[in-house]
């Protein structure tokens, strides 16, 4: 019975991995990077590389600076306060059609900053992580959700398949031939990081309850048109007020903030938002910061805009709190350097897990498929190379484009940020095409590309901003220095891996000329070194 069950899990594990591995890698890679979205944002928007504010921002002074920008009829505006890691303040407002406009400002000198001309990490890599930028009918979110479910299935079926789980708990034999060493590393990262990846996949699914389970509220709230809104208001808290049409005034925001901090026992807000601004029914909302706890609290305080009196206080109920604990575990929005570093290492470990899974699949089937004339290896190898090294390559191309495009770059209908995004997608498409055409040789060539682009990105940061690594390290600009160091580390690891592949292949073999079948040994050596180098990335971080 046990063997049958175990055997039945194997095709499930293989097919889920092969079909969704590339999506999983994309989610893991972007998820790992956006742990440091604030830092990447600063790297990509040099005008936001400000010194940390010595005193808290005065909201009243900030309001005098930004509120003249708000057009009549705006439905809300919002100020995100600077934090220890992001020294810039963000102002945004929304129009009735849902369109949102954002301006950054310097919270020390109360000056508007020029438009950054980029989506940075928070505007591009973050949505890529949860929606793959496929907005139509929420396709991307469903695909990511499917990958999240697949991750849970893969982790559990992987444990079931693994015949010598306990005996090989700490076994890694890097000197053995490829399928073996890749499988060792796959088992090692899969089993030892299982709690982390299970937790992250599960919490990722819980965050999008309203997408993946859109009818969840019907049982309690009924199916009437207002039911969903009632559910959202009770679950997440929302007190938007209703426009009266009478003009309203705005009391002191700083006084409201002090009151909020008093009611929260000294805890700070992280943003302030005005609902129905300029109207007599206007409400000011404060949201409590996530910095000091795992749970992403939903604590909200609403003030009457004109009088500054508290009109509503919201805290999440028990079920929503459970959902917000899971969200907190997933988003890692708290301020905890050690945990953030461990999450980063765990995320890279997840990338290794997917990569070694692909490598094992490819190397254990390469010869057999060639013998039987099957095309699966070529197809999966394209998916693996394009989806993994290709994605890393296009992420770097995105950074390079960010530093290369002039500030006023743009085409008709295309602003600068759109050109950056286009660079990303163009590079990714070319990487897939290259992987299809060059087959096994594509591993080495794309790794060399990664090494080159990482170095170029770092040098371009120096050239365009005048801030090189030694300087940012000495000045304590950790965000910029950290991104530069990560670029160096990724580039170095990729270069090392590419060199090892070259050495393993010897002088006589040319991967590009041989067919998939005769290329077996060369590919084996190459891919083994890739997995080794990737393991290095995972632990080095």
């Amino acid at each position: 019975m046990e063997t049958t069950f175990r055997k039945s899990m194997a095709p499930l594990h293989t097919w889920a991995g092969v079909l969704l591995g590339a999506v999983l890698f994309a989610v893991l890679w972007t998820g790992t990077l956006i742990l440091f979205r604030g830092e990447i944002d600063q790297w990509m928007m040099p005008q936001t590389r400000l010194a940390a504010a010595p005193a808290p921002l005065s909201l009243d002074r900030a309001a005098r600076l930004v509120l003249p920008l708000v057009p009549a009829g705006a439905t809300q505006w919002r100020i995100d306060l600077p934090t220890a890691r992001t020294p810039v303040a963000v102002f945004s407002y929304r129009l009735p059609d849902g369109e949102e406009y954002t301006r950054l400002f310097d919270p020390v000198r109360y000056r508007l900053l020029p438009q950054p001309g980029t989506d940075g990490a928070s505007g591009f890599l973050v949505p890529l992580h949860y929606s793959l930028h496929l907005a139509w009918a929420d396709t991307g979110k469903w695909l990511v959700g499917l990958a999240g479910m697949a991750m849970l299935v893969l982790l559990v079926s992987g444990v079931v398949i693994h015949a010598r789980l306990v005996a090989q708990l700490f076994t890694f034999r890097p000197r053995k031939g490829l399928p073996r060493s890749a499988l060792d590393l796959h088992n090692l990262s899969g089993v030892l990081l299982l709690p982390f990846h299970f937790m992250l996949a599960l919490s990722g699914l819980a965050i999008f309850i309203t997408v993946f389970f859109p009818q969840a509220h019907v049982a309690t709230y009924g199916a009437k048109p207002k039911a969903k809104a009632a559910f959202m208001a009770e679950a997440y808290g929302r007190h938007a007020g209703r426009k009266t049409g009478e003009p309203g005034t705005l009391a002191s925001l700083d006084a409201m903030r002090r009151e909020a901090e008093r009611l929260w026992g000294g805890e700070q807000p992280y943003f302030v938002r005005a609902w129905q601004p300029g109207d007599a029914a206007g409400v000011i909302e404060f949201r409590r910061s996530y910095a000091r706890e795992v749970t992403m609290n939903l604590d909200q305080l609403y003030f009457d805009a004109a009088t500054g009196r508290v009109v509503r206080r919201f805290e999440a109920g028990p079920v929503m709190t459970a959902q917000r604990v899971l969200s907190g575990v997933h988003f890692a929005r708290f301020e905890h350097g050690t945990l953030r570093a461990l999450y980063f290492a765990g995320g890279l470990g997840g990338c290794v897990l997917v990569a070694t899974g692909f490598l094992f699949w490819l190397e254990s089937r390469r010869k057999g498929h060639a013998r039987h004339g099957l095309g699966g290896v070529r197809l999966v190898e394209m998916l693996a190379v394009g989806g993994m090294t290709g994605l890393v390559l296009s992420t770097l191309a995105y950074l390079v484009a960010n530093r290369l495009l002039p500030a006023d770059a743009g085409l008709p209908e295309w602003d600068r940020a759109a050109l950056e995004r286009a660079t990303f997608y163009a590079t990714w498409s070319i990487a897939f095409l290259h992987a299809w055409l060059r087959r096994t040789a594509a591993w080495r060539e794309q790794l060399l590309g990664i090494a080159a682009l990482a170095l170029v990105a770092m040098l371009l940061n120096w050239l365009t901003t005048g801030e090189h690594l030694l300087q940012t390290l000495a000045n304590g600009r950790h965000a910029v220095a950290g991104v530069d160091l990560a670029l160096l580390a990724f580039g170095g690891a990729a270069w090392h891996a590419a060199r090892r592949i070259g050495a393993g292949r010897g002088s006589g073999t040319d991967g590009s000329k041989s067919t998939g079948g005769s290329d077996g040994t060369a590919g084996t050596n190459g891919a083994r070194d890739t997995s080794r180098a990737r393991a290095g990335e995972g632990t080095g971080a």
Binding site: A167, L169, F170, T171, F172, R173, P174, L188, S189, L192, L193, P195, F196, M199, E293, V294, T295, V325, G328, V329, F334, H336, T338, L339, L342, Y343, A345, G346, G349, G538, T539
Partner: protein, 109 residues
């Protein structure tokens, strides 16, 4: 600073716990060198109990210094980090675990 010390202590306990757990397997015990003989079943049980206590005990400094929420998360991740460190030491520098094997052999024989 106390937080950092607690983190380091917890990581040391996790790595040590995983190392003892790994040494309780014949293959890894022999990989450390040929010094003491592989322990018998009773000593093995004691070794594994000690390892489990170390791993579970690492939760204490985490929670004490970082609070229940952060502490539990940190502990879960440090256990993984300890396990992977031990696997890499066994892969590339297995002899580093020889002193631990000798210590384990003397303590639990």
């Amino acid at each position: 600073m106390p937080e950092l010390l607690a983190t380091l202590a917890a990581f040391a306990m996790c790595a040590l716990g995983c190392a003892v757990l790994a040494l309780s397997q014949r293959e890894h015990w022999h990989a450390t060198g040929k010094l003491p003989p592989y322990p018998g079943p009773r000593a093995l049980r004691r070794l594994r109990t000690a390892a489990s206590l170390l791993l579970a005990g690492a939760l204490a400094p985490c929670v004490a210094a970082h609070g229940a929420g952060f502490g539990t998360l940190l502990w879960a991740l440090l256990v993984s980090a300890g396990g992977i460190s031990v696997a890499f030491v066994l892969a590339w520098r297995p002899r580093w675990l020889a002193p631990l094997a000798i210590l384990a052999a003397t303590l639990f024989a």
